[in-house]
């Protein structure tokens, strides 16, 4: 790992230094497939960097971490550059001071890799309309995380308000294994679903989202209940002849029960942020199912 710190700098100096570091290592910057812009604060920075660099193993990228510092200080840009042997991509941590905070895009825009996709990820707080944010405007894919909001349930329920094609939320990504298992359970016809429920630890924003998806697809009322956790613990669906359930109490192994069939155990582990991010970066086209689901959630609002 080669790292380099620059203070009171600008984008073109950073760009030149990246090229120099790359050449010193004898590895020209080839093969990077996207730029990941990560606006965050000092508190979330460390974990975000760790997850982003892990995800970069699957999707080599230039990672631009943008941290807002003291607004009262004179405008200044500090940068920390890491060009690793351990990771195939590049990492730049940008610290913005003073008036520069309001012009972050002027620093980020010249550092984007040419002619490849740009993804923005807010690991902590995020703007109300990500696509209209100065940094969000640069990206065609914008990833937020409702779980990091002060009120996660309210945050996910209001995502539809600021939605534009290309938005997505890690709350939705966390559901993929559950949705995949549910879809597999429905591969053999089970008949119409009349009602159902989703149980999770209180305040888990993925639960209402899963309920909204199920009610949207199955056209049945799905309620949300509280449990001891961890995370999502149970999905129950009333089907002809009984109940189809998936229960998971240890965050690792789930049990699938269907009427007239033996119970089966299935691995259903919670995933790390790096894995969630990797899944997000695999497809960069708008997620229409997510859009339909958050709209459904917003419409049903208080009823679930």
């Amino acid at each position: 790992m080669t790292s380099f710190t620059m203070s009171g700098t600008n984008a073109s100096k950073i760009s030149a230094m990246l090229t120099r570091l790359r050449h010193q290592m004898g590895a020209p910057a080839v093969g990077m497939v996207l730029t990941l812009v990560v606006p965050c604060d000092e508190r979330t920075q460390y974990d975000a960097v760790r997850s982003a660099t892990d995800a970069a193993r699957e999707h080599p990228s230039r990672i631009l971490v943008v941290i807002e510092r003291e607004a009262g200080e004179p405008a200044r840009l500090d940068a920390e550059l890491r060009v690793g042997e351990a990771t195939p991509g590049e990492l730049v941590i940008l610290r913005l001071y003073g008036d520069l905070i309001r012009h972050a895009e002027s620093v980020v825009s010249p550092l984007l890799l040419p002619d490849t996709p740009v993804v923005a990820w807010w690991p902590g707080g995020c703007p109300g309309v990500p696509a209209e944010n100065a940094l969000g405007l640069l990206a065609q894919r914008r990833i937020t995380d409702a779980r990091a909001a002060p009120d996660p349930i309210a945050a996910i329920a209001s995502r539809a308000d600021g939605y534009l094609a290309g938005d997505t939320d890690l709350t939705w990504t966390r559901l993929t294994p559950w949705r995949s298992l549910l879809a597999a359970a429905f591969d053999q016809p089970v008949g119409p679903v009349s009602a159902g429920s989703v149980e999770a630890k209180s305040g888990n924003p993925s639960a209402p989202l899963l309920a909204a998806w199920l009610s949207d697809r199955l056209d049945a009322p799905i309620t949300v209940g509280d449990s001891q956790g961890p995370g999502l613990t149970c999905v129950r669906l009333a089907v002809p002849g009984g109940e189809l359930t998936i229960t998971r109490t240890d965050a690792r192994l789930a049990t699938l029960s269907k009427p007239g069939q033996p119970d089966r155990r299935v691995a259903l582990a919670r995933r790390s942020t790096a894995e969630l991010l990797s899944e997000e970066l695999r497809r960069l086209d708008p997620d229409e199912i997510y859009a339909a689901t958050i709209r459904r959630l917003a419409r049903d609002g208080s009823s679930v």
């Binding site: 080599p60 359970a185 591969d187 089966r264």
Partner: protein, 555 residues
């Protein structure tokens, strides 16, 4: 991917009417390309399943293709392939969440094992060879469905036990009578195993269930034996239930040949006799025959590698674009091009074969082929084979395809190199372009998967000197750290019932029709030419190229 950026190109003309005839419509081919690329990347779950399942939606691309409930019955679990590739691949599929709930694995072999013994063997194989990290919960899911049936293939009782075991698994695990039988055994056992499956009724699915059989190469040793072998399986299983594994076709880079050709507009216009000088398809191995003497002697390099892997690569490189990526359309195009393959008139001048002699391979002394354990001293089996083929169609007439394979060569490498003609006119002095070679596009299949493009570039300095440089796309660099193993993809395709990546019996027979005359010719030639281990094959192979004014690429 850049949907947003393409939008302006898609704008309709200002008058709002139809697109002006003189203005080519840019957007449509781009959209098509995306569709083709997606289809090439992963054929989606069958349409019927999508329609029947309210939770699936073609737009919901996060949900992976998961096989339906089923049992995989593995014959030959004690073999090397099972331990190194198949069992780990099953675990890796599980770890990626692609195995259905209730998935069960039944081992069958002549061992005095109980279920837990087989589970232990599986566990060890996974720990040692799996690509993805070991996770306890995934293992638990898999272990619950592991069963073992001991017995010999000739033992009726053992197969009756297998049938009862499978019925019990259906009962206990809800697998619905869907079984895939994987015959990881030498072909001489196919007849007895298939007969037993028929006798016990395991080959006939009840209404709504499926039965599939998976077989490994070699698919015979000539046309006649390939047909014989097929009669055995086709008497019991219909062709659409027979999955012939050519693991090369499961490799990401091989599938990428289709993406490269049919999802891009950059290469296809020059992918023909107007621009291509010739094509070289190589599979070189640095190892000798190892412990495979019994199988290898009498078979040789051409039957072992050219008949299946290299001719399949040739088909993918040379075929016309299929109307879709479903099995029928794809196989039809491959068959068409295999049918168009012609052998040169004089096989003595357009083929070469060799046998490795003792030598130094990568810094270690190694013995020659005739000194290997179990090889008769007068063996005429070739360990190196090179052939020149022509394709008689409009696209390729006059463009030779050179195929070569060998053991104990300098390095392990498999690649397809499309070598282009020289520029028709060089406005430079002869001295300036002295060291300029021909442009080439190389698909590196293994190791170091990727694509290399070679072209001329100016050497920095005051003189206008032009020299070859290469531009590189490495899979490992731009995508996953480790791409899925070929067997993962192929096993999943078997369980889903998606056959495009498996050669049809017609392709197998066509390939033998190409190879049989060459083998006949060679059989009258006596001892193959010796080449030192660690070299790049016999001199006659280089002479064959030299006669055409060409050289093999140095690998």
């Amino acid at each position: 991917m850049n949907h947003d950026r393409h939008v302006p190109e898609q704008a309709e003309p200002a008058d709002g009417g139809a697109i002006a005839p003189d203005r080519p419509r840019v957007a449509a081919p781009a959209e098509e390309a995306i569709t083709v690329a997606t289809a090439a990347a992963d054929a989606s779950t069958t349409i019927e399943a999508l329609l029947a399942n309210p939770l699936r939606d073609p737009r919901d691309k996060r949900l992976p293709r998961v096989a339906g409930p089923c049992v995989l019955v593995l014959f030959g679990v004690t073999g090397d392939l099972a331990r190194r590739k198949l069992l780990p691949a099953i675990y890796d599929l599980g770890n990626r969440g692609l195995l259905p709930p209730g998935f069960s694995l039944v081992g069958f072999a002549r061992r005095d094992w109980a279920n837990q013994d087989f589970a232990q063997v599986t566990h060890d194989a996974i720990k040692e060879n799996a690509r993805t990290p070991f996770r306890e919960e995934v293992w638990k899911q898999l272990a619950e469905g592991i069963h073992f049936v001991p017995g010999e293939f000739s033992d009726d009782g053992a197969f009756d036990t297998l049938a009862t075991t499978l019925a019990e698994i259906d009962e206990k695990r809800g697998t619905g009578g869907n079984y895939a039988f994987y015959l990881s055994v030498p072909p001489k056992f196919f007849p007895v195993v298939v007969k037993q499956l028929k006798r016990t009724g395991l080959a006939n699915p009840p209404e709504g269930a499926w039965r599939r059989v998976v077989i490994e190469k070699p698919f015979g040793h000539d046309l006649a034996s390939a047909k014989e072998l097929n009669e055995i399986t086709s008497a019991v299983f219909p062709e659409e239930s027979v999955f012939r594994i050519d693991h090369y076709l499961g490799k990401e880079t091989v599938q990428n040949i289709m993406a490269l050709r049919f999802a891009n507009n950059l290469f296809e216009p020059i992918w023909n006799r107007g621009y291509v000088d010739h094509v070289q398809i190589t599979m070189a191995e640095d190892i000798g025959i190892g412990g495979r003497a019994g199988y290898y002697d009498g078979i040789g390099a051409a039957r072992d590698v050219i008949q299946n892997h290299l001719l399949q690569l040739l088909a993918l490189v040379a075929m016309e674009d299929p109307t879709s990526f479903d099995a029928d359309a794809l196989r039809r195009e491959k068959e068409k091009v295999l049918k168009a393959v012609r052998l040169p008139h004089d096989l003595a001048l357009s083929t070469a074969r060799g046998q490795y002699a003792a030598g130094w391979q990568g810094g270690e002394p190694v013995v020659g082929y005739l000194d290997e354990d179990g090889i008769p001293l007068d063996s005429t089996t070739e360990t190196y084979a090179a052939v020149k083929l022509e394709i008689a169609n409009r696209r390729w007439a006059g463009v030779p395809f050179y195929l070569r394979t060998g053991k104990r060569l300098g390095r392990r490498v498999t690649e397809v190199a499309v070598v282009f003609q020289r520029a028709p006119h060089l406005p430079f002095s002869e001295d300036d372009t002295e060291i300029l070679g021909q442009n080439a596009l190389v698909v590196r299949v293994q190791p170091d998967e990727g694509i290399t493009v070679r072209f001329g570039s100016k050497v920095p300095g005051t003189a206008m000197e032009v020299r070859d440089v290469s531009m590189d796309f490495a899979y490992g660099e731009s995508f996953m750290e480790s791409s899925p193993e070929a067997y993962e993809r192929l096993l999943l395709d078997v369980l889903i019932g998606d056959p495009p990546l498996f050669p049809h019996q017609r392709e197998v027979e066509l390939s033998w029709k190409i190879l049989d005359p060459i083998e006949d010719h060679w059989s009258a030639q006596g001892q193959p030419e010796e080449y030192p281990s660690g070299s790049w094959g016999p001199a006659s192979s280089d002479e064959m190229m030299a006669r055409d004014g060409r050289v093999w690429r140095r690998l």
